[in-house]
Symmetry: C6
Subunit: 77 residues, 6 copies
């Protein structure tokens, strides 16, 4: 019934691939903390914390490794 949130790892461009990496990172957080209310409250904490932002960037980097490999690094693009 519901649309799949992750139909494919293929994206048209590196930029869309990076956005997908961000989405993967956020989805794992949502699965561990499904309450949008709590996540919104937590956001106001980490948004102001340099180390949290660096940690977020690290997670995105890990997911971007996967997405980029899946797209063969968009070499033909």
């Amino acid at each position: 019934m519901t649309e799949p949130w992750l139909p494919s790892l293929t994206t048209a461009t590196p930029e869309e691939g990076f956005a997908l990496a961000v989405k993967l990172s956020r989805t794992a957080v949502k699965m561990a903390q499904p309450s949008e209310e709590i996540r919104t409250r937590l956001r106001s904490a980490y948004e102001d914390n340099a180390d949290s932002l660096i940690a977020i960037s690290h997670v995105v980097a890990a997911n971007f490794q996967t997405v980029a490999a899946a797209n063969d690094y968009w070499r033909e693009a």
Copy 2:
């Protein structure tokens, strides 16, 4: 006797692959802390901690790298 909890790394879709990555991440926690009672108590702590949630997302990303590679990134899908 017991069903294997990890019969294969192959999944039909990226979405199921991501769910498997979450399962792998949780299983490693279970192996280090087998008591469900303690894990439930700990959950109420990390669920409210942005840095813990980001760390969880990082573990899922690492496992998703493995699962995605195992499925050749679901390129044919």
Copy 3:
């Protein structure tokens, strides 16, 4: 004289591969802290700490990447 603790990275199933990843993670800890008495004492600390358990799961994920690649992801299984 002593049996090798790591004769091979090859395992029959993904589940055994995951157990091997756990073993690799623990062995590195043992090499840094050989005293079983101290490790047992430390265990009572990290077992009750969500962030420690998440960190353990991250190490297992890293080692599972290696073991899974060594087994070509058990694709034939």
Copy 4:
């Protein structure tokens, strides 16, 4: 309308590839904290913190893995 910020992972040299890895790391931070004012304030904190700088270097390393692979490690260069 806007120029893509990430048109390609291909760079002419390893050095440009490293700069791109830095850019990827920063862009993920920007996406999590879009306010330039807050980011500038946070910068004065992490710039003086050794552990934050080490963490930043780790994120760059993760992104450089991706960029270097995308360029086949500039082996022909």
Copy 5:
């Protein structure tokens, strides 16, 4: 004049490969803190800290990924 400390990434067995991963992890520490006296003092701190030991195991896992790949996972062994 001095013997190279890292003549090759090739090892005869997985176990020697794991020992090499430990060596790589320690060498990076030595390069950042060359004083053996200080390292010995620090050791008494981290040896008693579960999170430090887990972090050490993570570094070893990262280096073991490299060594294992270099040896094609000792598949012929």
Copy 6:
């Protein structure tokens, strides 16, 4: 005008490759904190901190993965 600081990822030996991984790790720190004065001050802090040294070793491990792959693990050496 200036010499490129990273002309190539290719090195003659594994040992030089490891030194390059250390250089990559330090360069990312320099880019985030260009002041040599501040970096020198911070060094006196992290040099005495076991967890910082372990974190540094982790960054070097990540960069060494890249450099080692770029050199095909110096298998012919």
